[in-house]
Every structure is written in C-alpha cells, then in structure tokens.
C-alpha cells in the first residue's frame, strides 16, 4: 500500500541534503565546539555557519539567535525568561486562547507564581480583535505572546500590527513561529518582534533542535543554567549534528520558499474544492485568506475525527484531528472550541497539512477515498438520521 503523509504540521521528514550535511558531525567531526584544540574548531565553525543559515531565514543577526532543544523549550525560555527578568516592572501577560500548549501551559504555570494572564478570544474565523488586545494592555503588562500561525487551522495572525501596538506601549512581544517558519516569508528586520520561537523538525530538519530569537537588548533569565554556551543564555553542549541539519534545512526553506508556497497553495485548494464538491455537510475552518498555504482543517458533520483518521490510516493516509480522542484528553480542540464551534463539530474535524513531497495524484487519491469513508461512518451515526 502506498503511504501518503498529510501531517506536516506535526513533523516533517528529514530531506536528503539535510541528512547528508549532518552525517560528518555524527562521525569524524565529534569534537566539542567549546574546545580550543583541533577537535573542537571544526564543530565550532559548523555551529556558527548553521546559525548564519537560520538567521538568513528569519532576517536577524547571529548574536540574536539561541539554539535550543525544541520549540517548547524556546517558548518556555521566552515567556518565563522575560517574566522573571521583568517582574519588577509588572506581572501581566497577554496571550490568546488558541496558542500551542507550550505557551498556554507555561502561562498557566506563571499564573500559579503570581502572574496575571489575559487570554484573548478569537472570532469564528480564528482571528484576533486588535482593539481587544489594545484594551487589555495595562501599566503592569510586560509581555504579549501571540503565535505567528496556528498549528491546527493555519490561521496567520497580524504579527506586524501586533508588534506595532506592543512597541508603542513599551511591551515585549513574543511570537511562537514554529508553524510559520519556512511556510511564510518572515523578515525580522521589518517586524517589531522581540522574541520568536522556531523549530527544526517542522521545516524538514531533524528533531531535537530549535531556536529562540531574542532581539538585542531584550534581557531573559536563562531557563537552563550551565556553561557559557550560547553566550551564557543556554547551557549545554551544542547538538552539533542537529544544529547543522537545522541550518541546512533553513537554507533550503529560504531558497525554495516561493515555488514551495505556490505548490502547497495549489494542492490545498484542489483538496478543499474536491472535498466540497463530493461531500455535503462539511466546513473548512479558519479564515480563507489569512491562512498558511499548507493547512486545511475540515469538519465533517455527524462523524468523529478519530474514526475518520483510523479509516484513512487503513488506506495509507496520515492526517490528524481536533478530536479529544486523539489527544489523550476528554476535551476536543481548544482552538476550534475557541472559534465558537460546537463540540460535535470540533470532534469531527480533520487536519490535512501538506508538504513539499505531496503531489496532485495524492490529493486526488484522498478526494476519491474520502466520500465513501464519510458515508460509511455517517450511516453508523445516530446524529445523522434525518439530517439528509
């Protein structure tokens, strides 16, 4: 059976050139980048070259980039690091209801430690009300954390405008750009962003390596205390091979950006058009025009997402769902519920997130097999009776 991967927002395969770039640093180039002798010099240079490559994708300078182990670490570092560095100024943080758990649960933790958190609502398209953001800022506000693009729906937030507001009010602005990096052009030279999290494995690099951008002059308390690595901002011997792979992946993402985005948007549009033509009672979630090119989140009425995923998996297709049953919790997607969607419909959502190796043939295969799957599951559903 052919295997088709439509879950690129979960993770991406390591591309061949990235793997090849990493191999020497798992074999002959094993030195510690902190060493001054021959064994460490090559790896030190490799880390710094990779830093330049990642900076190239974001439009920042190398001293502003801290390598971390994951997007989650970057979010923790940015939010806790800033909160504890500026707690003398205030204790108020503004974020949104639709952030990744790496942000939401970090804020929840800070709330137990005396910080006040405002969680902004989104509308039914998943968009923020910037007036509500402005109104939420108080003299005690020290941080705004709003994701660049939502992992479930692909909705892109107005990072430029939010940055302007934050700057005007003297508030530090962090954005979790884990889903955006490589999937939309980012230029930190023109954005008023102080802190940005990105991750390697979402853009065809390896897992276990990520980065936090911290604008010059933004002071953070380290999350991981240790040696003088990363200019004393993040202790721990560098994951050299991972960093090299991440750098290569960032370089390729930048090089191929325009062609890749056009490719993804055309596949995504074909997928949504095909689904709408062949299946009734479905909804495409999230703002139609303010969305990543690769993400399609669709709710299928009267059926539950996990059972759709199991059916797709039996046909070789990997996708994901906003259903509670796939997340290990009892609640359906907090993102879809925050958009005002009913619980039934949230449970019936499937996310197709496309990537560079996907083809028109794969989309057409999906569009062919999906209608009978949905029809079969609906014929078993007590909610479907009479809905026709």
């Amino acid at each position: 059976m052919k295997k088709i991967y439509f879950d690129h927002n979960a993770t991406t395969p390591v591309i061949e050139d990235v793997f090849e770039a990493m191999v020497p640093y798992l074999k002959e180039q094993w030195g510690n980048p902190s060493s001054i002798h021959w064994a460490g010099r090559g790896t030190k240079k490799a880390v710094e070259d990779a830093r330049e490559q990642v900076c190239g994708l974001l439009g920042c300078t190398p001293i502003e980039l801290i390598f971390t182990s994951s997007g989650t670490e970057g979010d923790n570092h940015a939010i806790k690091g800033l909160a504890y560095a500026r707690k003398d100024k205030g204790n108020h943080i503004i974020t949104t209801k639709v952030e990744h758990p790496a942000v939401l649960n970090t804020c929840k933790h800070l709330a137990k430690d005396g910080f006040e958190i405002t969680y902004l609502d989104v509308d039914k398209e998943g968009l923020l009300d910037l007036e509500a953001l402005k109104n939420a800022i108080t003299p005690k506000t020290i941080l705004i954390s709003v994701m660049y693009a939502n992992n479930e729906t692909g909705v892109v937030f107005p990072i430029n405008e939010i940055g302007e507001i934050a700057k005007e009010r003297g508030v530090t602005f962090h954005t979790d750009a884990v889903q955006a990096a490589g999937k939309t052009p980012i230029d930190l030279k023109t954005l008023n962003v102080d802190l940005m999290t990105i991750s390697g494995h979402k853009l065809y690099g390896p897992k276990g390596v990520a980065a936090l951008y911290a604008r010059r002059g933004v002071r953070l308390i380290p999350l991981i205390h240790g040696g003088h690595h990363e200019r004393n901002r993040r202790g721990g011997t560098e994951n050299v091979a991972g960093i090299v792979g991440f750098g290569k992946a960032a370089e390729i993402a930048m090089r191929d950006m325009d062609a890749e985005l056009a490719h993804l948007a055309s596949l995504r549009d074909r997928l949504e058009k095909g689904m709408k033509e062949r299946i009734d009672h479905i909804h495409v979630n999230g703002s139609p025009d303010k969305r990543l090119a690769n993400t399609s989140n669709i709710s299928f009425e009267f059926v539950e997402g996990e059972s759709l995923l199991l059916n797709l998996d039996m046909k070789g297709i990997a996708a994901s769902s906003g259903s509670a049953c796939t997340s290990g919790s009892l609640e359906p997607s907090h993102v879809l519920v925050s958009m005002g969607m009913s619980h039934e419909l949230s449970h019936g959502s499937v996310r197709f997130s496309l990537g560079r190796s996907n083809t028109i043939e794969e989309i057409d295969y999906l569009i062919d097999i999906m209608p009978p799957i949905v029809e079969r599951m609906r014929s078993m559903s007590p909610l479907y009776a009479g809905a026709k």
């Binding site: 996990e306 509670a324 049953c325 039934e344 007590p382």
Partner: protein
C-alpha cells in the same frame, strides 16, 4: 494503540442499524465527550433475540458498541445485565487506558435499553 480485535470490530462492525418497534432503546454519552451510542433491542420471552447499534464516536466507541451486540445476542435479561463496561473491554483484549472512561459506554447503553424495556412493560 488498539488491539487487533478492536480494529476488527471497528473495520467490520456487527449489527449496525436500528430495530423498528424495538422492545427497548438505550441512548448514552454526550456530544461534548465525542461519543454517543444508541442501542435498540428486541426481547422475546425474556431473551434478547436481536440487537442493533448506531454510534457517533472514536474507534473504541464503535468497537465496544459492536462487541456488546455480539455478547448480548441470545442472552436472557438477567445474564445481559451482568455485562459490564469492563467485560466488554476485556472481550476486546483491552482498551488504551484513556479510552476506558470516555469511550467505553456500550454496556451502559445496553443497561439503559433493558431499563427502557422494563419501564414499558410496567406501563402495559
């Protein structure tokens, strides 16, 4: 994550549908949890002679629904009432721990259907 038996019942569910003029109907679960089960039973001389289900839910919800229909067909009411959510899960070679609470409602649906039947009998 699911056993082969769960996947078998999920892929080829037994006794899907609704019995017309059922002796008893049991509906349990709620949309917030993502699982709703409707079980209809036909009872003749104290024995469950037919049973059908319709379920909105995940793989575990559908498999437990299908399994309970197999377990209960041909059983007397007293015996049927002994079937628990745990025994349905056991018959499927177990369920992932997170599914034991949220999607393991099939025996509840069965008990609700029997209760519905008994209530109707009293009203006769």
């Amino acid at each position: 994550m699911y056993s082969e038996k769960v996947m078998d019942h999920f892929s080829n569910p037994r006794n899907v549908g609704e019995i017309e003029n059922a002796s008893g109907t049991g509906m349990v679960g709620n949309p917030a949890c993502g699982d709703i089960m409707k079980l209809t039973i036909k009872i003749e001389e104290g024995v469950i002679t037919d049973v059908k289900f319709k379920t909105f839910g995940c793989g575990a919800a559908i498999a437990t629904s299908s399994m309970v229909t197999e377990l209960v067909k041909g059983k007397g009411l007293d015996e049927a009432e002994q079937i628990s959510n745990q025994s349905v899960a056991d018959a499927l070679d177990g369920l992932p721990p997170v599914k034991m609470h949220c999607s393991n409602l099939a025996a509840d649906a069965l008990h609700a259907a029997i209760e519905d039947y008994r209530k109707k009998e009293l009203e006769k």
